[in-house]
Symmetry: C2
Subunit: 577 residues, 2 copies
């Protein structure tokens, strides 16, 4: 779409601003329909963001978008309109705020709950350097469940920095927001009666005042006049202290289908295959039916993790605690300490949030918690903050932990059935999409690899997970066409390693493949196993870099897992023998 200058926004009438909102909505819909992206969350923040650009002066004033699922309008209003149709494409506009992309993006986000801490830091830096400029944290009500938000609120008075918090309250995370804070906010909206009428006050205002915030709200987030007035009022109040403005928005606003189905239209992507998450839901239901100890825990991701039906069938044994990855981990540990068998499902990149709890609470007590780590490996278009490429490394160092990596969905099902027999902590990590595969004939044995293609060749490929095994098979076809051959092993446990099988390979050249950074993963574990023996190991995985947005297959090849590179290695080693 056309670039809308800040001058135009500052001069426009209210009805012109509403016209601009219509243009922006159309552009967001058009871009997301071709590029995928976060739809309903962005549609809900259009008027609010336009009003912010009207009242504040970016980039002198700064804004931090919590999570970043609502930053498209800001991008369109800050010189990126012409490039917007490259959204989420390799080399194009990121779906999240990126300091490297524009000076209008003050702070990178992607994971929930960081915005208030970040705004405090930015404002404190302004103050200490004697620079002017307001700092705004735009936070959804879903993030208000997160402990980081509370930690930041709790230190506003310590830091003595005047920040402007906008609570973008649509009652939703990806699904409906849960928890007591959500009820408080909901009641504040309801007490306010007709939210379109302006500032209502509730008993709960006290709660925010305790944190050193002047509370203003509830404001209708789709009424431009009300928004502009409230923002101007808040801007003036910032001279005296920090302000929280409570804005009521509708997720998906302006697009009827998205308003009706805000969860389904939160993130729009092109689904291309079967998903592991569906198998998780099915198998957990079957396990729960046969064993009363089985319970499920998630942190605000019930739907995307495949657990909706489980939650409906076993409401007493299913716990969604909101965007609280740490609490969910400790809760899982304690459920296990109490004699239950919790399955904690979570995306790879978000498990980082619960890292201490995985070490300290789950594995430290060697509790039988099964962590189902979804979206592992490169996830693609969401970019740096969403790639699940670190988990094998940060998990492999934890004592008491078994780490399993299924070769397909059938093997994933077998691993889940195996998990009930475990006495200690278990991680199963898998990507979003996969193929069903054949049902294994025998139960999976912990720490036992599987030889998928056996030859007399000197070369053995150890590959972890479906993507890497596919890569290995593709390389094998090309190698065979050149008259070469090699053995392929399904390295389905990073921990414990199949030491018996590895020992049997002492005369072979070993090549490892993993959908993870090289540092600290499968390649390193295998290299460590052979370190004293002087064996040559060739490891393929991702190089030491944050991997930006793009197509999964392109990024895999570009960052270290290409057929060409593996085939070259095979050729070279073949020639040496």
């Amino acid at each position: 779409m056309r670039d809308i200058t800040n001058g135009e926004l500052k001069r426009a009438s209210l009805s012109q601003l509403n016209g601009i909102c219509r243009e922006l909505r159309e552009e967001i819909l058009a871009a997301v329909s071709t590029c995928g992206g976060h739809l309903s969350s962005n549609l809900g923040a259009v008027e609010l963001t336009v009003a912010l650009h009207r009242v504040f002066d970016f980039p002198k004033d700064r804004i931090v978008f919590d999570v970043g699922h609502q930053c498209y309008t800001h991008k369109l209003l800050s010189g990126r309109a012409a490039a917007f149709r490259t959204l989420r494409q390799e080399g194009g506009i990121s779906g999240f705020p990126k300091r490297t992309e524009s000076e209008y993006d003050s702070y990178d986000t992607g994971h929930a709950g960081t915005a208030i801490s970040a705004a405090l830091g930015l404002k404190k830096a302004h103050d200490l350097k004697g620079e002017a400029g307001h700092v705004i944290a735009l936070v959804g009500d879903g993030s208000f469940n997160n402990g980081l938000i509370y930690e930041a609120l709790n230190s506003i008075k310590i830091l003595k920095a005047n920040i402007f918090i906008i609570l973008n309250d649509n009652g939703m995370s990806i699904s409906e927001t849960v928890g007591s804070m959500a009820s408080v906010l909901k009641e504040m909206k309801e007490e306010d009666g007709d939210v379109f009428a302006g500032a209502g006050i509730s008993d709960d205002v006290h709660l925010f005042e305790r944190f050193g915030l002047t509370y203003r709200g509830v404001v209708n987030g789709h009424d431009m006049g009300e928004l502009v007035a409230a923002l101007e009022d808040a801007k003036a109040a910032l001279e005296k202290g920090s302000v929280l403005l409570h804005v009521h928005t509708r997720k998906g606003c302006g697009y009827a289908f998205a308003e009706r189905a805000p969860t389904e239209t939160h993130g729009i992507g092109v689904q291309t295959g079967l998903e592991y998450s569906q198998a998780l839901g099915e198998e957990l239901i079957s396990l729960a039916e046969e064993d009363g100890r089985v319970v499920a825990v998630t942190a605000a991701m019930t739907d995307s993790l495949g657990l909706r039906t489980f939650f409906e069938k076993f409401p007493e044994r299913a716990f969604d605690v909101g965007i609280c990855e740490e609490h969910a981990a400790v809760l899982s540990a304690a459920l296990a300490a109490g004699g239950l068998r919790p399955y904690y499902a979570i995306y790879s990149t978000f498990l980082q949030r619960a890292y201490d709890e995985v070490i300290h609470d789950i594995c430290g007590q060697n509790l039988p918690v099964v962590m189902c780590v979804d979206r592992a490996g490169i996830t693609g278009r969401d970019g740096e903050t969403h790639q699940g490429v670190f988990d094998l490394s940060y998990l492999s160092l934890i004592p008491n932990l078994t780490i399993a990596i299924p070769k397909d969905i059938s093997e994933f099902r077998s691993m889940l059935r195996m998990s009930l027999r475990m006495t200690g902590s278990l991680v199963i990590r898998y990507p979003r999409e996969g193929t069903e595969g054949e049902t294994p004939e025998i139960p999976i044995e912990i720490g036992k690899f599987e030889v998928l293609h056996s030859t007399m060749s000197y070369i053995v490929l150890l590959a972890a997970g479906e993507r890497c095994l596919n890569l290995a098979q593709n390389v094998l076809k090309r190698a065979q066409a050149e008259g070469m051959d090699f053995t392929i092993v399904n390295a389905r446990f990073l921990k414990p390693l199949d030491e018996k099988l590895l020992s049997s390979l002492s005369q072979k050249t070993v090549i490892t493949l993993e959908d993870n950074v090289l540092t600290g993963g499968l390649g390193d574990a295998v290299a460590r196993f052979y370190a004293n023996s002087g064996k040559r190991i060739f490891s393929f995985g991702y190089r030491d870099a944050f991997i930006p947005h793009g197509a999964v297959s392109d990024l895999m090849a570009e960052y270290g897992l290409s057929e060409e590179a593996v085939l070259s290695c095979v050729r070279e080693q073949y020639a040496r023998r």
Copy 2:
């Protein structure tokens, strides 16, 4: 001391209970004076714990001690009195709750903020299994700053589990508790007027009620009659829902010196040498004097990290945000994004709490935050939850991060001076104690190792940090006595590695030493460097286990870093050549 049976506690008069408290205090003082341990926090919770044992039935009822710095009385009252003088000694009583030690310990703790999540999980497991029994979370006011507590409070209504939260409010973490929640609690105590008079009510009660808690308090935590009555009342109220009892205690109560100096007597240990933390404080003051961008951030550990004087000298540039490791990390990132140079000082084991933020906020944006990681390596008597033996591994996989490991305090000072020239993220990791060493003649160059003892020998020891270099020197003396020799290299950067130096060692046998688990640390990084070349590497570090409490030197040897083992390796490799 003698075992006090539960029957005795249940029958005793109030004055007999107070007599028992005196016995317990004497025992705690005596044990801590010989074994070290947490003194003032434990002294403050004696009456409360005795009253709990009087009113509740352990182990059928369960109690989770947040952090665990107040569990000694519980240990003494649950069959461990006779063994108590083995406190913190290898093989003896742990200073923290340990499920493996006693069925009275329901949940292991060590890091702050887990108790309410854990109580919810234990109670939910009780309920789902149809078992009776109350579950109590005993939480200090310091932990109430932590986001995990908020996440757990926020989900009490979701989980529908009736738990009993006791807020043990002494106004202190290790130092005075900071933040808005602390002010709220303080006012609640003050509004209550004479706390010795019993239940006062404040506006802020509303806050706890919002979370589904019946609030009771403020109770004088050193008045046995009042405590027993309040606990019995709360126990009855638990039939109807979750209860929070606000108890006002005095840290160090009953020991005048500890009451006057609660921070100094929080943890009692035997200091045996110079501390890195003192150098941190001195150097940061000097850096701050020459560069106005330098600021310091800590999470409730100002004193133990050596930053007290910095905080006094630069109150506007020093931020203690309470026990909020995550918020402190995001705040540091944003301070750096705003153009400042934050130094975030933290213990190795607590940095695990901020892992996602180190990845996502600090390194993901490649911001010049300097993380000063204290208490790295084995820390000794606090046991599993406090050993700093994972950081090299979980940090080495993070892109954009430089990891430095000083060989002594002088080198640490040089690294701190170097840090101001860095453009990206930096970790400096060091143990508590060390030696000053000689001031390096030239500034430290990033990624450059230092050869400390050069020989023509085929054997090269790469050692990271003071302890491992000392170990290497000790082994060298013994090797030289046997007519052998080897080169010693100060491997002072795990990342980037000194690839030039490593390349020059292609004909040598390389042995690595690190005060960290073997998985994912220096040994693995060196093995990865040489993986394609078929070089033999011998790595020494800790095996894959949680390391319990004991003396540092004993634990080092036992878990993988012994002179004998390294010397044997040297002998074998010598013989091969």
